[in-house]
Symmetry: C2
Subunit: 434 residues, 2 copies
């Protein structure tokens, strides 16, 4: 086998065998195939795609580039959730404790934010002392003790993904369904899970803005999960506006605490109940997603979900006093309210721009090396469909960077559209696929 012939084969639209894909991934990892050949291969995959066998082989080769965590000695069904990311998406912080409180084991490996989209790790690290960089041994210990653990990708898990992702990022080959599928599923399959709940976002704040593409990705993820004999449920959900009202790392921890303590943040709560309900169902602690949703709501009401969250935070070295007294958290130096310049029904939000505004304020990174400010962010008070009068407060921005205030305010103001006619609220959960 040689790399040029395999690139040509894929380029010509022929399908590669499992051993050919294994050869490509292994050789790239061992640096026997140089970056310039692998990037040409990635671009050929971008154009020609992969069939189911190729997709499984790719995922398999990426899984086996590192350690597959063995969680056999932890009793119970292990279920994780993966979201394709968006603005204000803090569901992991809420549903991991709910599912764990229901008796499901939740070994969760999450990512950092990049660009307009936030990352679970950055949110967790907004809690003073919280450690996301546990070793695999510590990961197992925490999971065993409290039924859930939330960490970042370790070096041992799917190292091929890290390498390939870095190359895709600089060669315009990120937006490829087989490559996205391989990247997501290799990490998830290596965690040692039995089941997976997927939250595939669509809309202006989503990676896949078109619902058609989100469906394709969901389909690919489901097929791949099944080819590894994992139980899977996928939700296609709306990301045309921020999820909940708080955007920014500590802000999102804060809103998660509120929801776990029983506050009704309608869209955020609805999505969390669905995702947690599905996790509880896949974890065999409910006979249906609906029953799982009821259990979830009960675990919020009786305080067990919030208690589980404090338990996880404590075991991962976080200072739980901030969970009990979130008001003592440091505040941003500057803040500014954004008032509506118009009257009418809020008809559309360029949600990508809301994410970018949060980034400007310090809540995100422009490059992987940037530091984030956990205090920075946005409270976004309005939802699509709301009737708004001129000078009503739309949002409020918070930052330590005075110069970013104007940029962020302008970005947010420019992202809004109003209609004179009544506008219906977008449906949050668009599709459930299994």
């Amino acid at each position: 086998m040689n790399a040029v012939e395999l690139i040509r084969k894929k380029r010509n639209g022929e399908s590669l065998t499992s051993s050919e894909i294994q050869f490509l991934i292994d050789s790239y990892l061992k640096k026997n195939i140089p970056d310039y050949q692998f990037s040409a291969f990635l671009m050929a995959v971008y154009f020609k795609g992969m069939n189911e066998n190729e997709q499984s082989a790719l995922t398999n080769a990426m899984i086996n580039s590192g350690v597959v965590v063995n969680l056999k000695d932890i009793i119970g069904v292990k279920v994780d959730k993966h979201s394709t990311g968006g603005v204000g998406d803090k569901t992991s912080l809420i549903i991991a404790p709910i599912a764990a409180a229901a008796g499901v084991k939740v070994p969760m490996i999450s990512g950092r934010g990049l660009g307009h989209s936030g990352g679970t790790l950055d949110k967790l690290e907004a809690i003073p002392g919280f450690r996301t960089n546990l070793s695999l041994k510590e990961y197992k210990t925490v999971l065993k003790k409290c039924g859930a653990v939330l960490i970042g990708q370790t070096k041992e898990i799917a190292p091929a993904d890290k390498l390939i992702y870095a190359l895709r990022d600089v060669t315009a080959t990120v937006e490829s369904i087989p490559l996205i599928t391989g990247s997501i599923m290799s990490k998830k399959m290596a965690e040692g899970i039995d089941g997976l709940v997927l939250d595939v976002k669509t809309g202006s704040g989503a990676f896949m803005s078109k619902e058609k593409d989100a469906l394709k990705l969901a389909d690919s993820l489901i097929r791949t999960a099944k080819s590894f004999n994992k139980k899977v449920i996928a939700f296609i959900t709306d990301m045309n506006q921020p999820l909940g009202n708080y955007i920014g790392n500590w802000f999102e921890v804060y809103e998660s605490i509120k929801v776990l303590q029983g506050e009704n943040v309608p869209d955020l709560l609805e999505l969390c109940l669905n995702l947690a309900g599905a996790m509880i169902y896949l974890g065999k602690k409910a006979d249906s997603v609906e029953e799982g949703k009821k259990i979830s709501l009960e675990l919020i009401r009786n305080g067990k979900a919030f208690n589980k969250f404090t338990e996880i935070v404590k075991l991962q070295n976080g200072d739980v006093s901030y969970l009990y007294k979130p008001e003592k958290y440091p505040k941003s130096k500057y803040s500014e309210k954004i008032y509506s310049a118009k009257s009418g029904y809020l008809s559309s939000i360029n949600n990508y721009e809301i994410g970018m505004a949060a980034l400007e304020l310090g809540a995100g990174r422009k490059t992987k090396e940037d530091k984030i400010d956990p205090k920075a962010g946005i409270i976004f008070y309005q939802k699509i469909g709301n009737q708004i009068s001129k000078n009503d407060v739309i949002a409020e921005v918070f930052t330590d960077y005075k110069h970013s205030l104007n940029t962020a305010v302008k970005k947010i103001s420019d992202s809004l559209e109003f209609s004179k006619n009544k506008v219906s609220k977008p449906k949050l959960v668009k599709r459930i696929l299994t």
Copy 2:
């Protein structure tokens, strides 16, 4: 401008501006864009092509990566020919002296053979002493003195092409019409020519085996030549069988001498008259290609073409005694005749395999570093359409490598197909395009 955005733009099928293409080529040459980004760009071009403006900009950027030869002080119209290559294609050795004898200036920069296809430089270097590596100063001097010069690509001319070609070769991005066009035309335009005759081959021994693809390439080459205000004529010609009867470096010099001395090798002579006729027409020494063909035939008959050939060889340091007495050239140690195993009409030849057999015998290179044996080669006696009896001689192979005899004989035998029914001879000149 940044590379990823430009790769993405091309990948999405948008067209790049001239300055964007200039930026890509310049940055790659300066190593500001790494190989892995450029190869992803090349693969995106493979899939998405280039429009006329992009093609001109690419060619222009490649031309300007090096020196553009100034031939203004040499009086006369400068015309070159480019062939896409094949088996037994020695036309350059015959038409350069014919056109020069007619008063056209022929500044010819040629390539080496690789794979199944021979190269003009290797053929010329079969003449003892012949120097193809002239400096640009020597190049001009020879051209001024005798009206023709035949050299290899110098470092000064289109260095971007050398770099890009090497990357295409290892990333399965060779077979792309805009990239082939850029490669060919950047070198030709940098030579300082006024007109160009193109010989685009099609058939089993050609780079573009399908006539449809050959036409597309010819069209792209013609448009690009015109965008640089060059006169151009393209021939689509058959490469389903060797051109002439001799394959191998010295063998092809030998057959060229014979044609220049008036011997009638029908297909080879026909193509040479066409190509030389077109060069003479573009060089304004005839009012039509037809008149140019007549002049060419006359220059063979009156000995002026052969004399011009000896003049060029002498000026480029070649030993002309071998031209006058070709029989004194060293002979291969081993030879073997191939007899027909069947009776019938020769209906098809896998001409690629004939080229590969010549390579096995020592006439070509498997890698760029291999040395070639100028004596090695094949005399191929038969043409498609010939009626052949069992045990008739089809071909004869010549080599110093005893072990390669069997391989070559088998390759040639296996490449032949016979028919019981009469088979018409393929048309040599399929299309003439301007």
